[in-house]
Symmetry: C3
Subunit: 214 residues, 3 copies
């Protein structure tokens, strides 16, 4: 097994990581409120949203058990998020534009961390960038599947593309032997700026033209 | 790889385990009948319901290939359940209250077995209890996803909480070095009694209050 | 880890494999067009359809990271298929009968390759045949889940049975020490002929009789 730089990361990174999980978990729990889930459903849906992308990446690259199962903080944060959403969902719903910004931070962090971890486990550049994207968008896809709705990431919103771009920057920078912190910041910044511009300017991905065959 | 006490378990445990899988598979196949699935769909949906929770646990804790793929009995039982449901579904549908009781036995067994296996693979107490719950509820969630309906476990029914409680009892008992058989019986009993009381008294989990934001 | 004959397969096999992935990815992307997905959604849905079955098999048998993550060609083919569907979906939709034939070739190849790989990783005959079927039908199931529709494989169409039969032939032939190429061709032929007959003669799997209980 390779050395895992995420087993003993800096306090800053852990705080950012937990914050990303918390924000993702809030978004998942709010979907659950709208679907009429009970308090337990909110916690599970929030936890799946916050941890699902990392779990999927870890299972695919062979890093099992996933890091989140080896650190109780990663399990308590989604529980806290689910309970917060259970109690404060009306206020949180009104804060949704703000939450979208936090969500963009989470996405930026996850895509870079996912790509670097995949590189660390021996994957090539292209699959590593893909795993970065999977880390960023996997939780949201799992959330939508469990909530019985088509994953929003596929429907015109620019969400996965910034994650793939940020992961690609991190991979290319690492391969070019640039300093690790620079690589991480550059990758996250590309994803963050792109995603926030997409939210604020309402950018849409191209849709297929012409009538769909039946 | 750790020694796996479930590779050569006692005959009693194997019979109970196969019975749990059979009951879960019947519940899955009955959902398939209502959704208009063909005989093959019933077998696959039943098999996924019976084996899905254990597969998910095994993939997450790194116990691959899952035990069910190393023992043909674990594969034939869901096939048998699917065929039984194919032929006898009208009678089985009328027996549903009885099936709910068997299902509670299956849940009790699965949550304890899942938690103990996770401990055996080196997971900490909190993740091990979580894996026990995943073993118990994972098959039903997979069933509902494949059947195109929102997982019932999230909607007010007390189903996952008893599984988590039973798994937690098994984990705490094991950590306290109590005898293995006592631990297993105590964990399963907690889950079973709680679940049956929830069914008979129609206990509901708390729902979020107030209107959901849109 | 066992030696993996699919790491350095013959050029013919690679071409057939990539062709199968391409055809499956096209079928996935066409579903995405009908669901109103953007160009990125088409690529992801196509990629999941083309690679999902192999990923599921590899995760279950412990062959991680999956072979497709170690070879950039396996990642670029679904991207190409998604873009082709994005541009040419009206023409492709009219070609659907032809695509069904290509799809049957893909299914035949995948079920045999999946079963042989599972044998190579030490699984017994029954689980190996099952893994062959999973390789063949897993991508289509993932496609339907992500597209928010009930998996078509469960609804009367004879699709999984030919895959299981082809995988079983490959497993039995390998156990009987027949030459590898003969085994592969025989298994694929059984699956292909059965599937094409099912398409052309509109064979249906048996449905449960009588009213479903509510």
């Amino acid at each position: 097994m390779p050395t895992d730089p995420f087993r003993e990361p800096s306090t800053t990174l852990v705080v950012l990581d937990l914050l990303g999980i918390f924000v993702f978990a809030i978004s998942g729990a709010l979907v659950g409120v709208r679907k009429g889930y009970d308090v337990f459903g909110l916690v599970v849906l929030g936890g799946t949203t916050g941890l699902g992308g990392g779990f999927l990446r870890d299972v695919l690259i062979g890093a099992v058990p996933p890091a989140a199962l080896a650190d109780w903080r990663y399990l308590l944060v989604p529980v806290a998020a689910g309970l917060v959403a259970f109690v404060f969902h009306p206020a949180l719903g009104r804060m949704e534009p703000t939450i979208n910004i936090f969500d963009a931070f989470g996405l930026s962090l996850f895509c870079v961390a996912g790509a670097l971890k995949a590189l660390d486990y021996g994957l090539g550049p292209l699959p590593a960038a893909l795993m970065g994207m999977v880390t960023g968008i996997g939780g949201g896809i799992a959330r939508d599947l469990l909530a019985g709705r088509v994953p929003v990431v596929f429907r015109g919103e620019l969400y996965a593309t910034p994650a793939l771009a940020g992961a690609a920057v991190a991979v290319v920078g690492t391969r070019a032997d640039l300093p690790g912190s620079l690589v991480a910041v550059a990758g996250a910044a590309v994803c963050l700026v792109w995603r926030l511009l997409a939210v604020w300017r309402d950018w849409q991905a191209p849709m297929p033209r012409g009538p769909a065959s039946v």
